[in-house]
Subunit: 417 residues, 3 copies
């Protein structure tokens, strides 16, 4: 996973353009992504696909001809979606187009101007403060013209039409925790799942933030009814504790599952839905209101490296990616096994002993979790409670519950509903 | 407001009689009250309008002819609704008709006997203890005979038929926090509102406690369906913190509004409904169950001055009246602006930037309350949530939410429902 | 009550057999129990009535002919439902059939093998450790053959068909807190109730655990609709605090009543339903889901004496039985009086003074509980709230509320619904 991060890190992604295509091409080496190109000018919900932006190079040279800013060193140096420019400007004019972070004077900020045509550079505040009062030669070799917005999609057909949606954004340039960590976890989970037979179908989206999810939603309204669980993945590579932001519904099954799994993860946090953040904003807009939450570590805007040059390959740790991957696997295991059953013998307890499901000698005061699991499942499998509900209520670990349910089903005492 | 208190304080009010009429005549100088006279003997719900009580004078003279108790000094000295009497009695007989407060021996209690014909005097416990064992000449120059119960009403027609009910009791004699403070706040709020165009209609009631609200309810059942919010005002002039008693429903909009506004008021208290207190007892009887709460400071019976001569002009402070007035204005502002909207573009977020509602440069980690307000309103304006619900949920101040909603409406993104 | 315990203690009960019959015969001296015999082999829900077990004697003799274990000293010494055996065995073979409690080496455990044919002895761990490596003559003079399962039932017809179910298990041999305490409390309560006219009908069940309640349920499905309240009684004789386990519904009236009554009992505990324990497992199986909770002191498995020879006549205290009896009486008083009423004058308060229900002199700041009770009942008797709901909400003691309701009913202000 970390090696994939290293390959993807230098690419200059944006909401459109060849950086996205290059990124998706690399992911295709791992999973058979299907790519979609939505032409500029296409109406998508309330939005319109913008012209495509591509950039070859950019720099600021001092009058000695030395490059003091070089896009090829760090693509964050260019305001994302900058118009082309090639001119000599004095310091004062240049400063009108510079973005810095006074609170973190050594870091370069990430800034964008997707919908307002302008050019700009981002640099460290220290560097800006030390600029001599001189002229500078600036050049941005970019172009903005009709093209397309590109996104990748991978669908795994399960036994049922019901879908689990996993979405991540692919529109940030050299930012590692923000965008790359989500892309990588999604890719590896998809790679793992394609080798299995699953109950649910799984749909993975690799899309530019906001405009990408809006484009996808606009073209796939007929599929939304099948989405039973969904997660937006992002910010999963740093060392902070897990964090889950609930879906707008607040009580969707995915919310319950994440609460259940995170309560054993130290310092993890659950938050109520809010309409700001990543693409859960679109999936959870009131007209769709999908059961989609967001799984991350420290949320956007709550760590200083966010949207700066410090969100780099050092900020993301292999062990953190591994933990995030493992937690997501647990989520999927739980989704796959979180069935609702009906007790086929609901009046009184069935005689478990005769079916070999219960100890023979009575009177002992200590009970086994496994036998208790049988009783809990039988009592609460009335069509209302899922196995997860029963695990929560009984305090017995989900795997014990899930295993006991299978035993009861084999004994014809339970039927999946 | 305090000057009005000074004028109203000396008047001897009761549940009927000229004291009430005199009080309402003074209020008519400020607002165009409509007066109603309900004749004695009229059946009102389970009750009957009693005979009217009026009193000219009353005193106790010692055998030297000195007035030791004088109604004209303090009208609390007479048991309210006392029958006329003029006789010489010995101390023992007199004491059977005396009411005092042993716990507060310097104060004169307020006592009534509306429905049981008798006469009595109220005096300080100290004075009673010092009465010489002698005869006394007592005189109460009152009359109880068929007349009417009088109440005042002021209706302000708003844009809609839906009403806000503001009610206060006008039946207490020289008690200042209890009854005068409510009367004064209601009068000044009414005076302020009559100069404005409001969305809601406002109905102000100036009524004798219990029998007055019962009479009004009995005569206005057809109007009750329009009452969407209601407050009983009383005990608003002392220096204790604000207190709100919820409507019987417990989750009416007025309850939510008062909870929201009082949580920023230091030491304020919210209590559940109970069937004792002021006219909320009648408005919230189960057959009406109106959304009417009670706004006061320290509740009745919880401060020693309650129903004694110590609830006088010193006990009420101009600054307290001012604070109460201001809080009530906030309530009304909130009621007027607490609309529910429908997001007209509920699928995905609308593109706010193109409408000039959103910043142009992306990537900054700090959000403005105003932009967040736009997102919260759009996401939760699904017909279920009011702006207040959204303010509570988002933690953004109501005025910011309300302002943002108007901007969205002007951009045709929102429609009031 | 304690004397009844002394008489019942030595009897060797099981889920079938003469020990149960002997027990029920003693109870018939107090209450007119109706006995039911369900023949072996009868299908009852998912189960089948087993062959009947009876035992005359059992012992282990050492080679000197001395009885080192004697069933007549303590019937727990025999594995309940042991097959007959009469043979000489060496120590090693014997040990395969011995049950002991290593954690409490002086106590004899209680063990059963109802559904798996085998023989066994229970002894103290100390005794087993000291057994010489020798041969032993073992004898169990028991028989298992077709017969019947016996249970007792006592029904008291009340004014209505609605029933209160009181159930206890009668299948444990010399165990005193576990089974005898419940039997005794149930018997004495039944004896007390048969002398009264009650609103509800009362049904008392004296049944073998599990198979007994399953048999009864299987034969009485048509009666279950009438059960409005139910309690399983057990473990009511030791000195630990009261404990109530809620019905599966969790919000049944019996749950509310027990919570209300136990909150004044020091250290009492309320627990959520779980599908393990006594016959509430069957009554609360999802196909029946009856409003039946369990009233006990320290629950099964949570005190060391549970299912051992230490649960004897010393472990149970007369005063504890008395307290349990008294609490159950309070439950019944509450059930009998916990009516729902409708306020017949729901619009405004009725005039209580004219009906002699309210004080004549107004103005006092302190209220009497009794007058407040009148107001609470009138306000909340809307068909939704029971008197218990009103007691909980008002904080006024239930007896005051109940008494006030009767006064209001006599004044034709209230009608039971």
């Amino acid at each position: 996973m970390y090696r994939l991060a290293e390959r993807l890190y230098p690419i200059c992604r944006s909401i459109t353009g060849n950086g996205v295509r290059e990124t998706l091409a690399i992911l295709k080496e791992i999973i058979p992504l299907e790519l979609t190109e939505v032409p500029s000018g296409t109406k998508v919900l309330d939005w319109e696909i913008p012209d495509e932006w591509n950039i070859k190079d950019a720099w600021i040279k001092d009058m000695a001809g030395d490059k003091i800013i070089n896009f090829r060193d760090l693509n964050l140096h260019v305001l994302n979606y900058s118009t082309p420019v090639d001119q000599i400007v004095d310091l004062e004019s240049l400063k009108e187009h510079l973005y810095t972070l006074p609170e973190y004077p050594q870091w370069v900020p990430y800034r964008t101007s997707y919908h307002n045509r302008q050019w700009g550079f981002c640099m460290s505040h220290n560097q800006m403060e030390n600029l001599k009062d001189d002229n500078y030669h600036i050049k941005i070799d970019s172009e903005i013209r009709p093209g397309a917005l590109t996104y990748g999609e991978f669908f795994i057909q399960g036994k049922t039409k019901e879908e689990v949606l996993i979405s991540c954004h692919i529109c940030h340039p050299s930012l590692c925790n923000d965008n790359l960590s989500g892309i990588i976890i999604a890719t590896f989970i998809a790679g793992f799942l394609q080798t299995l037979k699953t109950r649910f179908s799984y749909r993975f989206l690799f899309i530019p933030g906001t405009i990408g999810s809006i484009a996808w939603l606009s073209r796939n309204e007929n599929k939304l009814q099948h989405i039973k669980y969904g997660l937006v993945l992002t910010l999963l590579g740093d060392t902070s504790p897990f964090h889950y932001k609930k879906s707008r519904r607040g009580n969707a099954e995915i919310d319950k599952i994440m609460e259940y799994l995170l309560r054993n993860e130290s310092n993890s946090q659950i938050r109520e839905f809010s309409p700001y953040g990543y693409d859960e904003r679109q999936f959870c807009s009131p007209g769709f209101n999908l059961p989609v939450g967001r799984f991350s570590r420290k949320p956007h805007g709550e760590f200083p490296e966010y949207h700066t040059s410090a969100d780099n390959l050092d900020f993301v740790k292999p062990v953190s990616l591994g933990e995030s991957f493992t937690l997501l696997l647990k989520v999927i295991m739980l989704i796959e096994n979180n069935l609702k059953y009906i007790n086929l013998n609901p009046k009184g307890e069935p005689q478990l002993g005769r079916r070999g499901l219960y100890r023979q000698i009575g009177g002992e005061s200590r009970q086994k979790d496994y036998e208790m699991a049988l009783l809990w499942i039988l009592n609460f499998s009335d069509g209302d409670n899922s196995l997860l509900d029963i695990a929560i209520r009984s305090g017995i670990d989900f795997p014990v519950i899930s295993d006991a349910a299978q035993k009861l089903q084999h004994s014809s005492l339970l039927s999946a509903c």
